[in-house]
Symmetry: D3
């Protein structure tokens, strides 16, 4: 098997994590997985959603969007259509859940962090790049809160990262770009914590169902990829 990208099956694309990419957000990270570029901005607010008020606990949520021409052909702007697509909603819920698993929400106090993940350029794997970058922006926001004495201890429990794996031409491959993703039979997104804990496993058979053996193979590749990504996150954060 030869991947369209020429990469080895277990090889990530070149990953770049640039902190302080914009100047207003409490955490601002541009994450690049090859040609996929996502800007992740973390905003801190001293207010929690209604269902949490008065309970002493915080919240982390995410929003996701693609610039209309981040893709090969222009997509209609969701703000102009007046509606977020089902795909958008699904992805931003996934990012939010994943990041909440990284943090002790009680230590966050009654504060909310919103992570905006906006895709500047898309080439497959935008949701996994978003989670990986958003976790770095989240750490920067948490550091800001500690510096500003909004919180007194560090709520971070675990770094969290995500990667996609798939079955391409019968074989498991890591971190699919768009051409690979388009012709893969199965697409799985894996979110894991630094300590190896699994946070989200979302495997979908696009065409043929996949076997348990393939599933295990994908899981293996994914775990190794996430280890590598968490290394890169920590390096970016000088942890």
């Amino acid at each position: 098997m030869q991947r369209p990208s020429g990469r080895a099956p277990a090889q990530l694309r070149p990953v770049r994590i640039t902190r302080n990419y914009t100047r207003h957000a409490e955490g601002s990270v541009l994450v690049e997985f090859g040609d996929t570029k996502v800007l992740c901005n973390a905003s801190v607010a001293s207010e929690v959603p209604r269902f949490l008020r008065g309970q002493g606990s915080g919240w982390i949520t995410a929003e996701y969007g693609m610039l209309p021409r981040s893709t090969g052909s222009r997509m209609p702007r969701e703000a102009a259509k007046g509606k977020q697509s089902g795909r958008t909603v699904e992805i931003q819920r996934l990012i939010g859940r994943s990041l909440r698993a990284a943090v002790d929400l009680e230590l966050l106090g009654e504060n909310q962090i919103t992570i905006d993940c906006d895709v500047i350029q898309a080439d497959g794997g935008t949701r996994t790049a978003a989670i990986t970058g958003a976790c770095v922006a989240l750490v920067d926001a948490l550091r800001y809160m500690q510096r500003e004495k909004i919180i007194t201890s560090d709520p971070l429990k675990n770094m969290v990262a995500a990667v996609s794996v798939g079955i391409y031409d019968g074989e498991a491959v890591l971190d699919l770009d768009y051409p690979e993703d388009s012709s893969a039979d199965t697409d799985m997104n894996l979110v894991m914590a630094e300590d190896g804990g699994m946070i989200e496993v979302q495997g979908t058979a696009e065409g043929e169902p996949f076997t348990e053996a393939q599933f295990a193979q994908m899981l293996g590749l994914g775990k190794a990829g996430i280890d590598e990504l968490i290394g890169l996150q920590k390096e970016a954060l000088s942890l």
Copy 2:
């Protein structure tokens, strides 16, 4: 460990599948997983979405809704709010993908089947009950299409069913009801085909991440549960 429901870890709730529940739909199934009751109506139309026109292939899609008082406290009606929730969108996309894996879309011709899954009463596991019931309604609609000579061969590739599994009090349990789901650490929804092929795996750590061992345990329970559910589907269809 004692489940709140008193069931054994690997025990499904009593499942009932009632065909021809309403009289207008080409397939109409009431599926009950214990106190969870979902009405699945399949509608056949001789038209496909724009992106498929002229390609000789068919489509299967699903919509999902909960009656406002299907739950313990009344939920606002989505039609009145003018918006489907993120959860609704996520679920109906999952049901649609799962059912498309059951069918050879080319044999369906340029026809679309829409499966409406409406929750009459909710007690946990509505999405997995919906997929399990919808597949039976789908088969009835395919039979209708063959009787009416809309199609000449049977597009069904595989029966498909779904079940939830979770980690409750540290142990894997099958088919969680609402009280169990509310206090489980992990919730996984599994969609599989009759031949053991995996279609969707969606595992989510609600609180603590889960380990690979727990994941394997859940997978094992889920597979057995789905085998049982497919047996019940076939019985209902006299297959």
Copy 3:
């Protein structure tokens, strides 16, 4: 004249009223007028709309919906379209007004009862079936409030029921099913109280205007039909 249904002009369809149809709602009634089946769930809340706050009076309101495939051909789901149709809005306002006439709102205290009327299967007369069933669900909700000491006296003034009448082939007929309704010249919906008081009269000439004589005939049939329906409501409630 021969009605398509074979019924005598003054003959109701078989009516069934099933209480406690679902388990969460404070009142839950499945009402069947022949093949028309409507689920009426009453929900009690200790809050009134803004315009009533602080006035010591309660409120009753209704919402109405049809499952997409309750009808012969599938109707688009209102939640997906993001908008309730004009017909839906008109019907739910009628149901709400009718039920408010059954109750002494001051005795209700600052509480609101919402009745969700969801059409499971449609064959004409869904709004009159809904009112008739909703009044039974309302009584169950009022009993619940008394049992739970939310209110101390019974706010029910009058049972309320509704029926349609029309001019079919020049003659007045009671309780039209869908084929009759489609070819009737006039459609009138009548809502009356147990004591013979008139609550709503809505007569509409679909094609030709109707004469006063026809109007009087319809009124006569309708009154008799409502008497019969109120008898059935009371039987169901063991009043």
Copy 4:
């Protein structure tokens, strides 16, 4: 009994019908029932709604709106809220149905007439004033179509007018203004054709149910009022 307005029970408010009120519409009528002023503009289009295409028949529809400050306290603008209220939808459906009863839709050919009824100033009875004025605007639009040879024969079957009647202080009164309407027990809107045919009867008990005797009384008053209104319409049209 003394009406707040000082009028006799069977007395209409001063009615004025001004044709050609604006210059663009094919029919443009300002109708005044006392202080209630509604501008009714009829627009002719050579296109029918989708459900009528290719059937050789025409359509008449209506839209209704209130200027935000047509009322005592400012109402939010529906265009700004992004939604028409239930009341608006109900009224515009009523106006459309009423006008369709005035016309032989087959003689209209595949053309549509839309009547916009916009309330400039409100003092009760806006919907009945709207129907009464809209029918005059409709006749002007039909005359325009004949002049322009869009149609070759006159589709008008019957003039149509509308009036409200109510029970005020136990007695039936005609054409209620806002203070009367606010304290009436029952509000009935009556739409009738020139030949005495009944088109719409919508009686609603606001507080206490009404008796059949009261209903008959209201019907009597309403019929006389409509006769008078149709006389005024014809005078305005020099019929």
Copy 5:
């Protein structure tokens, strides 16, 4: 050059300002610039938008709408489409800004005046007619507030009026009607205060860019026109 309207380049259309046009609003003005007729209703409320609360300052805002058949061909009703057009939004923001420049918002106290500008008939220049009429309605509302002792001193700083100017056939012309506007190369809207202060200048090249010389010419015409309009406003207000 000959204007389609036959007017001299610097000649306004006949302008009429009718106060107290409807009876509910605190200021109600029908303004006519030739065949353009706009109803401007000012409503006083003792509440300011959230961003101003507790600051002791008031607010003035405007809403704008066109009746569907105010124009040559019927425009869809914005309330029915569920959305105000970009043009509507732009115009109502302009009206609001212009009127706020007329008033000392601190002297207004924590009160808001909303001016609804509804176009009854359109023939070009609706936004400039609206501003000119709205300022008169605003003065009436301010007088009302003083009479009712809601405020103790007059917040009016300056009368404000507006006019359009354009380049037609190479020459600057004042107050364009619809046929002139449709074939003009440049359209400029000018809002000025009584003391000659400039409030808004909005010049737009529809086809060819305009030169500075043309711009100066337009400015000159516009200033003279506004002087004339402010004279007419004051006459109407007997200032």
Copy 6:
């Protein structure tokens, strides 16, 4: 007078124009006016809006958006609110009109170019930066169309650029950043063509009206600024 930015009154911020910033769009430009950064992506489509079909002429339109955290405090995401703000609509209409003045639409054939202007980081003047950058992206898209033989001659008539000017502390200043804009009395946006033709002049008195003399001063500064910007555009394009 000392500007908060320390710049001379007639001094632009450092301007950077980076072409080919993303890889999918036919023209992709990141424009920076100091800390204001806007990504302008031009997309070519072989389809024009309905009102232009069959007329042999093309169209240019623009959409504008701000990333939620492009600003000092997070703004709600318009796609999530389901509505573009009035400000957004106003700005994207302005950008579209400005760019259409740069191009001979007939030479464009029946093709449309959409320019998406998305603000990555905001510090005042986002609309003028957007126009200036969008014109460069537009030229790249026109070059692409010529290379691909979609069009045979160059439709560009004129480079177009935009700048803001204002009155700060009584004196005219060029290209205001956010702190300057917030405390300026007047804000004017100027769009001009390479040949000195004026395309848009939008001056708004935020507090006090401005005098003609101030207006002339602002115009002078603006013209010089635009000359400089057009020089930078040409340099970027190697014109």
